[in-house]
């Protein structure tokens, strides 16, 4: 990091904090603090929704995913635009009509207090743990690649977020999100342009795409149905639809963003803006990863991008074997570079047969270097037992640090910090709001005046401290981190099922939905423990189980008053 990089990084982060503080000043009531004054326009809501969903790991990991596995990850987001349309028709008008502050208030109006509390507590558990990982994962990457202290990194991100989030509430979060999205967009667009420029002069953008495609990195759509395959067209359209329906419709960290809209129209347009931007945005970030992959066809990459586990190998008995593999890898990659050059030349010659032959030779060289890399990874696994050594999260930032010019490195790292901060601020703000509205206001009987602003600030501050403490602890979790990451899918289906029952199964009343949700959640946990079904499908399984069980249980419920109709 040069002096200019530090200047860009510190300047960008200071701007975000001061902008959030300035725009978020003046909340005098609980409604103003939690609801953001309910005067947000559609573009501010849209940016805030995208920023909350975009964590730092989104654009550290996504280019790495394209480098290692190709671009099929984009299919994960195909359910999002459909979910945005469904929510615009159903839940958004209802939330506005009932003037709720959190998604879970609606459940008490329709069922009872314990169903509301169940949904609120499930949200607090899974989101409270996930927010810790949101700041831990990028902090770990930065600490390994830049040698920064992990603890200091977590502390800086946490404190910067808390300055404006605790002070200004939802309004400060939304305006800070808008500035963070500008930093993220500038960083990623400039990194993409610079990566295309860094390719050898005779390699055009089209050549680069042919090299990436020839080596299987542009496999965007996989129409083959396989429930155990995480990313294909159907898991994205069906499993992804239920996940996004639950995330945007019932997760307070997103619901709070569009509840701040000044009207149904503004809230709808904000959510639909996200539905239109997200798929092309993810495609472009993955394309950047594919370009980094092509860059390394003409430059030799390290055998493994994460230097942490490599140090363990070099300190053990396999150090000599690993060093030998590193030199084998350099030789194999040298041959691969020559074959990539030959493929580009063959394409320029205009002879299809020559191009096809050169492509086959490039694929063969790539397979050989991948074989050497796999042997290296096996040694790393042996030296780091019980962990899942992966360098996917490290590829993009390692590339940025080694290949991009001074100034742009600082901007990309500012984008990483912005991603961490944008997710954390949206999430602790929602955790604070749910604690105040669904627990304090409902169970303690708190009022909505100035006192509630302070209760909101204390709750948000407490969740921020919990997130930082969990991030510090996450370093000891090892592969349990993956379990925490899919925690969302373990609960989302059940919560969505409760909401769908509230809407469409009118005969279900009172505690029936509560018991159906508990049994369905047990079923989802059994699926997680004893089957290999991909986690995206848990959203569908949990949702269908709640609706089906609630209907079945309602056959045995005692006669009572008709439920309040929602739809």
């Amino acid at each position: 990091m040069s002096r200019l990089d530090w200047f860009v990084l510190v300047g960008a982060l200071l701007f975000v904090v001061l902008w959030g503080l300035y725009k978020g000043r003046g909340a005098t009531t609980g409604e103003g603090y939690i609801g953001g004054g309910r005067d947000h326009r559609w573009w501010l809501i849209g940016l805030s929704i995208i920023a909350t969903q975009t964590s730092a790991i989104t654009f550290l990991s996504t280019p790495g995913q394209a480098y290692v596995d190709g671009m099929r990850f984009v299919q994960f987001y195909f359910g999002l635009p459909i979910a945005a349309v469904v929510l615009s028709v159903t839940l958004i008008p209802l939330y506005h009509r009932l003037k709720v502050s959190t998604a879970y208030e609606l459940l008490e109006a329709r069922f009872d207090l314990k169903t509301r509390l169940l949904a609120a507590i499930l949200f607090l558990i899974q989101r409270g743990l996930a927010v810790g990982l949101t700041i831990f994962a990028p902090a770990l990457v930065l600490s390994v690649l830049l040698g920064w202290s992990l603890h200091v990194n977590i502390l800086i991100v946490g404190l910067l977020v808390m300055i404006y989030t605790v002070t200004g509430g939802t309004k400060a979060v939304a305006w800070a999100h808008s500035s963070q999205m500008v930093i993220i967009a500038c960083g990623m667009i400039l990194a993409g342009i610079m990566t295309a420029h860094r390719l050898p002069a005779h390699v055009s953008f089209g050549d680069a795409l042919h090299v990436a495609g020839g080596l299987g990195r542009l496999n965007v759509i996989d129409a083959h149905f396989d429930p155990n395959n995480r990313y294909n067209l159907w898991s994205g359209l069906i499993g992804g639809f239920f996940l996004m329906l639950s995330y945007f419709g019932t997760d307070q960290s997103q619901v709070q963003r569009y509840l701040a809209g000044s009207s149904v129209t503004q809230s709808r347009l904000g959510l639909l803006l996200n539905g239109m931007i997200k798929v092309p945005m993810q495609f472009l970030i993955l394309l950047l990863g594919a370009l980094v992959f092509v860059f390394y066809q003409f430059h030799t990459p390290p055998l493994f991008f994460n230097p942490g586990p490599v140090k363990q190998v070099m300190a053990g008995p396999d150090a000599a074997a690993y060093r030998a593999l590193e030199s084998d890898f350099a030789v194999a990659r040298g041959l691969q570079s020559q074959r990539a050059e030959a493929y580009v030349q063959a394409r320029h010659s205009g002879d299809p047969a020559q191009a096809a032959e050169a492509k086959a030779q490039l694929q063969q060289a790539h397979a050989q270097s991948e074989t050497v890399r796999r042997k290296g990874v096996a040694l790393i696994e042996k030296a780091n037992p019980g962990t899942n050594p992966s360098d996917t999260n490290y590829i993009f930032l390692a590339y940025v640090l080694s290949a991009l010019p001074v100034g742009l490195v600082g901007l990309v790292i500012a984008a990483v910090f912005s991603g961490s901060m944008s997710s954390m601020s949206g999430e602790i703000s929602a955790l604070g709001a749910t604690t105040v509205v669904d627990l304090w206001r409902r169970l303690v009987g708190g009022s909505q005046g100035q006192r509630e602003v302070w209760v909101g600030r204390i709750a948000t501050f407490a969740w921020g401290c919990f997130a930082m403490a969990f991030a510090e602890y996450a370093a000891r979790l090892g592969s349990l981190i993956e379990a925490v990451n899919i925690l969302g899918s373990l609960f989302y289906g059940t919560i969505l099922g409760i909401f769908i029952t509230a809407f469409y199964v009118k005969r279900v009343r009172g505690g029936t939905a509560f018991w159906a949700a508990l049994v369905a959640e047990a079923g989802v946990l059994l699926c997680f423990a004893f089957t290999s079904i991909s986690f995206l499908w848990y959203n569908l399984i949990g949702c269908v189980a709640v609706v089906g069980l609630a209907w079945a249980f309602s056959l045995f419920q005692p006669p009572g008053p008709e439920a309040i109709p929602l739809a």
């Binding site: 349309v85 542009l218 639909l272």
Partner: protein
């Protein structure tokens, strides 16, 4: 409480998704 009716807006959002899927498929095919 842009394109004159909500149905038209929803059609644009879903149409964009369909267009993305078709273009991505074409993109994969051209460069594979």
């Amino acid at each position: 409480d842009l394109l004159g009716s909500w149905k038209r807006i929803y059609a644009v959002v879903l149409g964009e998704l369909l267009l993305c899927i078709l273009l991505f498929r074409l993109f994969s095919w051209v460069y594979s």
